[in-house]
Subunit: 280 residues, 2 copies
């Protein structure tokens, strides 16, 4: 029996039709096998009702996926794991920094740069040969919050002011200075139009199609510890406090699990999930 | 007996010493006579205690002033009256617009202007001869909130984008386009440095020394109805809902007092205070 398309509610409050292919693709991107996809899809389709939210669909898929392979589920859950990095924007900045290091840049964080008019705080400066990227990180704990056009507008003025100052310095004459903004949610349509027009580079969860945040994290194996399904929310917060942000950092500093008082019997499971997640 | 200087707490949480001359000046600026000032000062000095807040001092002075002349007290209370215009920024925009009309500009509000990259919403456009002022109004309900450097930074990019578009249009060739930002609280030090450097014009409650918001409202007699001591907060909100923002508008539409069900016996008092306040 063919079912009528089911209307669903997206994060932004808009309606859409349930799209089986889209769900399949996101499962596949998380590393799910054909068998796993078929099972998850069956479970989701059984649970569908008119105006079910995308969060609810995601929750069902995630929970079924976990029964198959925890690392695949953890990868599927990356979007939510990024939101869980809050409330401070600091862990997100470190992930952005790591994606740039993965690309061969050397980085400096939380720098105060002199502009022509005033001083500016820049989250990350990434340097490779003659390229200097000035990077602003916009972290939101709430998936529904997007960065509107005001963000690239003020960043553009900031970079313009810094550039003006650099032009006075002979040693920067042959350097190329680029403005970048990373966010874990999304940019408004106007923010994208304006940035394209002004040669500002934007990276959001799902933007641009080549080089999105999701892809950068996946390719470099920079999954945050908030992805792990073997830890509770409190344990994740304890690790973040200890400056353990990435799964690979946890693997290098295993002793931290004892420090935050996780029972030794659980360590192997946690470390095994972290390892699978980083493709190590 | 000479008293030791009393430490007080300012709005921004910083400590200062109680300054008699400053209080005298603000009372004088509100139109208080020498006799009134002496009485208010006496009462305030009796009430002082270490780390009393400036709000508390203001409240005591305001309450004593009211016993002398309600219109003077109302004028003294202008800063708070502006905060009471919220939560929406609409009434504040109208007051800013009226200060510009008083200076001989013709105005348009809530305009969508085409920029080189994207469209922008401009709160007020004020035109006189060849001068076009693009005005952004930043209203805060909370006195402690200031506009930081991000505000002039994004406004600068916006005006730059609009200016670039105008340059393509021959009919705007001989026009001068200025960016202005009005706020009812204050700008950060960096916001002021940046704006001066970029030729953006700022107007805050007490800035610049010549042409501050306070002075503009006072000179033009544009006191909002939230100044009136003869109305309750609920009655003021009811008037704002009826689009009566200024005392002078109330004087022109007296029948509104009946509409919002204020007892006829109180009308004369209210209207008399409004009249004194506008210097009519």
């Amino acid at each position: 029996m063919e079912l009528n398309p089911i209307p669903i509610l997206k994060m932004n409050g808009k309606k859409a039709l349930f799209n089986e292919e889209k769900l399949k693709l996101s499962l596949k991107n998380s590393g799910a096998t054909a068998e796993m996809i078929a099972h998850v899809l069956e479970e989701v389709k059984l649970a569908l009702y008119p105006y079910i939210s995308t969060q609810e669909i995601h929750k069902i898929a995630f929970s079924r996926l976990k029964q198959f392979k925890r690392a695949t589920a953890a990868r599927y859950n990356l979007k939510k794991a990024l939101l869980d990095l809050g409330p401070s924007g600091f862990p997100f900045e470190r992930i952005v920094e790591q994606t740039l290091i993965y690309q061969g840049f050397t980085t400096k964080t939380d720098q105060i740069l002199k502009g022509n008019c005033v001083q500016h705080e820049v989250d990350v400066i990434a340097i490779k040969n003659n390229f200097y990227l000035l990077v602003e990180c916009k972290f939101h704990s709430d998936q529904a919050r997007q960065s509107d056009v005001k963000v690239p507008l003020y960043i553009q003025s900031r970079f313009y002011d810094i550039r003006l100052q650099w032009k006075k310095d002979a040693s920067y004459q042959n350097k190329s200075l680029q403005g970048w903004i990373f966010t874990n949610t999304r940019f408004s349509k106007d923010a994208i139009s304006y940035s394209n027009c002004m040669d500002l580079n934007l990276v959001a969860w799902n933007y641009p199609s080549k080089g999105s945040l999701k892809e950068r994290i996946d390719v470099a194996g920079l999954h945050p510890i908030t992805c792990l399904t073997t830890l509770t929310l409190n344990e994740k917060q304890a690790l973040l406090k200890e400056m353990i942000i990435l799964c690979r950092e946890l693997l290098k500093k295993r002793e931290i699990l004892t420090k935050i008082e996780i029972h030794p019997q659980r360590h192997a499971n946690i470390l095994s999930e972290a390892k699978q997640l980083c493709n190590l």
